[in-house]
């Protein structure tokens, strides 16, 4: 979808800059049309420098921290006390990973995270798009007010302390159901904002054709609207999955101590680990907990990157 919108704006199959006579690299004046040598020279330097700068910044800003995590996670305890970039003298990769796998209860945490994320994301997307469809199509003043109310949650912070009180009153404090409901309430606004904007670009005729054939609203929504929403729903899925999977703050309040999730268990491992400077265990946990999302990201990076950007810039 967005690759389509992106490619037309870059029509020039740009020859490596510094090359052709009047590429965007040069600064031809209106009168002459030839490229001033100074500008061309500077541009030429840049075309050599740019890849160096790109790789250099990746190595320094991303490579170094990740390297620190990887080597430290393979070190024996004594060497990990003061974290450094040095390679471990004695590789203890599997021992460390096995230790945190059991101590940090990775399987329980993984399935706990999954058990919360999947229903929350599906629920918020389904309910959110149903509401968005109606909000986008009606045009009364009441409807406008409802829409404003619905999207106000994008900026307003959730009242997390009293959420706990409410969940106690409802009898779902500390349960996955409670956590799912809280996440749904928090991200409903985001979904409604994204999807309503998208529905408004879907021609009404598409629905009318189906209605003439006698389709009921549910049928129209499920058969016509929902399939068309897939691009925006995938964007919303990515964003909400990222937030829910990595959230630790709200999880502390709602299910802390009652359920295992990956970030909650990381906090637990780290709280005891920091006390003893057990960086090898902390980073072994970081690697293991990051793997699922990093794997998904590696395989779907093109889709994720285009999905994330398509919603932001209109």
């Amino acid at each position: 979808m967005s690759t389509e919108t992106v490619s037309p704006s870059r029509p020039l199959p740009e020859p490596r800059s510094g090359g052709g006579g009047t590429t965007r690299a040069g600064r031809p004046t209106r009168a002459s049309g030839w490229r001033p040598p100074v500008a061309g020279g500077r541009r030429g330097v840049w075309s050599v420098l740019q890849p160096v700068a790109a790789i250099g910044s990746v190595v320094a800003l991303i490579g170094a921290p990740l390297w620190l995590v990887l080597v430290t996670s393979a070190k024996p305890q004594g060497e990990a006390l003061t974290p450094s970039f040095a390679l471990p003298s004695d590789w203890q990769l599997f021992e460390n990973y096995r230790t945190v796998f059991t101590d940090g209860d990775i399987p329980a945490a993984f399935f706990g995270s999954l058990l919360i994320m999947v229903p929350a994301v599906i629920g918020v997307l389904v309910l959110g798009s149903m509401a968005s469809w109606v909000l986008a199509r009606r045009s009364s003043r009441m409807n406008a007010m409802l829409y404003a109310l619905a999207i106000s949650g994008i900026v307003l912070p959730p009242a997390i302390v009293t959420v706990v009180l409410l969940l106690r009153q409802l009898g779902i404090a500390g349960t996955a159901v409670g956590m799912i409901a809280v996440y749904m309430g928090m991200y409903m606004s985001t979904v409604i904002f994204f999807v309503t904007g998208f529905v408004r670009t879907v021609p009404l005729e598409l629905e009318e054709a189906a209605r003439v054939d006698g389709a009921r609203p549910v049928t129209v929504f499920v058969r016509i609207i929902l399939p068309l929403l897939m691009p925006v729903l995938s964007t919303a899925t990515i964003l909400i999955c990222l937030y829910v999977w990595n959230d630790v703050f709200y999880a502390f309040f709602v299910v802390g101590g009652r359920m295992d999730t990956l970030p909650l268990n990381l906090f637990q491992v780290a709280s005891t680990g920091l006390y003893l400077n057990n960086w090898h265990l902390i980073f072994a946990y970081v690697v293991l907990m990051s793997l699922p999302l990093l794997l998904v990201f590696t395989f779907a990076q093109r889709k994720i990157i285009s999905g994330v950007t398509s919603g932001a810039v209109k």
Binding site: A54, S140, A209, L266
Partner: protein
């Protein structure tokens, strides 16, 4: 699939309007306007039948119960003595606010949160924009670099915090590395300054999210038409002039989105700071959310609620002017 087959006959219509109005932008909303104007479902009662209220109910029920009710509770329980130490809850008026004000905690935490949010917004956008300009061209190296810079966005903020704690400890990896260059031991307490550590943690927060800002700026840069840039070039504008006078102003929607999300997102910050400093040293990085988490853990529910209300009001008061100002800036430019 058969849905698409059925809607097929409609598809050829848009290109006709498109041909009439050469501005490509029109395409998206032209069919809608046609539908609104003389479509058979233009009147409100028919719309209510074809787009029933029952579709609104579940979403608003979830929002109402799990988002707005706790928010309303905030306005109630901030004025009580709700705590884990006793069973009943009594109203105490403004006592919680008075206590938090007189101990200086309220204003300190609020100031720390605002400073943090502004610093994060500045750094994240600065880094994001620099990266977008650096990696703008579609080369193999640049595509790879963009993916790498997106990795922190995917990672847990808590994990990011621990990584930087290990890097920035007095005996940590960064000081060791600096020691190699200065040929002597370096022992800068990056996370131990009551003045500068807030800047360091804001930099870490910005590091985590700069990949997202970069992508949004890249998408914004791609929407700028090549013709405009060509015209500027023909008029003799240099790289810097083109950027300052043309490309940056045309990036306004991306700036709005990035600044607003960074500012409001970091008002809600917690994990990065909790994992690096835990609010210290001497509570100089204690964001509102860290205070809320800490006092809640101590059983002081009413105090936590009061701070939660302060955060709510701060964000609400900040959000609307910020979004409006940025939108207005878009219109002027």
């Amino acid at each position: 699939m058969d849905v698409q087959a059925r809607t097929g006959p409609d598809a050829p219509k848009p290109p006709i309007t498109d041909a009439a109005a050469p501005a490509g932008r029109r395409r998206a909303d032209a069919p809608r306007r046609r539908g609104r104007g003389n479509g058979p479902v233009a009147d409100a009662s028919a719309l209510r039948r074809t787009h029933p209220t029952s579709f609104l109910v579940p979403a608003f029920a979830v929002l109402g119960i799990f988002f707005f009710t706790p928010t309303i509770y905030n306005f109630v329980y901030a004025f009580t003595d709700w705590s884990s130490f006793k069973a009943e809850v009594n109203g105490v008026g403004l006592t919680n606010f008075e206590n938090l004000l007189s101990s200086g905690t309220l204003l300190t935490s609020l100031r720390v949160t605002l400073v943090y949010a502004v610093l994060v917004a500045v750094f994240q956008n600065l880094f994001g924009l620099i990266l977008a300009l650096l990696l703008e061209r579609d080369t193999k190296i640049n595509r790879f670099s963009r993916v790498m810079f997106f990795i922190p966005v995917v990672m847990s903020a808590l994990a990011v915090g621990y990584i930087f704690q290990a890097l920035l400890k007095p005996a940590g990896a960064l000081n060791q590395l600096l020691g190699v260059f200065t040929a002597g031991p370096v022992e800068i307490a990056w996370l131990g300054s009551t003045t500068w550590t807030i800047v360091v943690v804001a930099l870490i927060h910005a590091w985590k999210w700069m990949g997202l800002s970069m992508l949004i700026y890249l998408a914004g840069l791609k929407t700028i038409s090549e013709d405009v840039l060509e015209a500027a070039r023909l008029d003799g504008a240099g790289q810097w002039q083109t950027f300052r006078k043309i490309r940056f102003p045309l990036l306004a929607p991306a700036v709005t989105f990035n600044v607003a999300t960074a500012l409001l997102g970091s008002m809600n910050g917690f994990a990065v700071v909790q994992a690096t400093t835990g609010g210290g040293p001497a509570r100089s990085t204690e964001l509102l959310n860290i205070f809320i988490y800490r006092t809640f853990g101590q059983g002081l529910f009413a105090q936590a609620t009061t701070m939660s209300l302060v955060l709510f009001l701060a964000v609400a008061l900040l959000a609307f002017p910020v979004v409006r100002a940025l939108r207005k800036r878009e219109e002027i430019l």
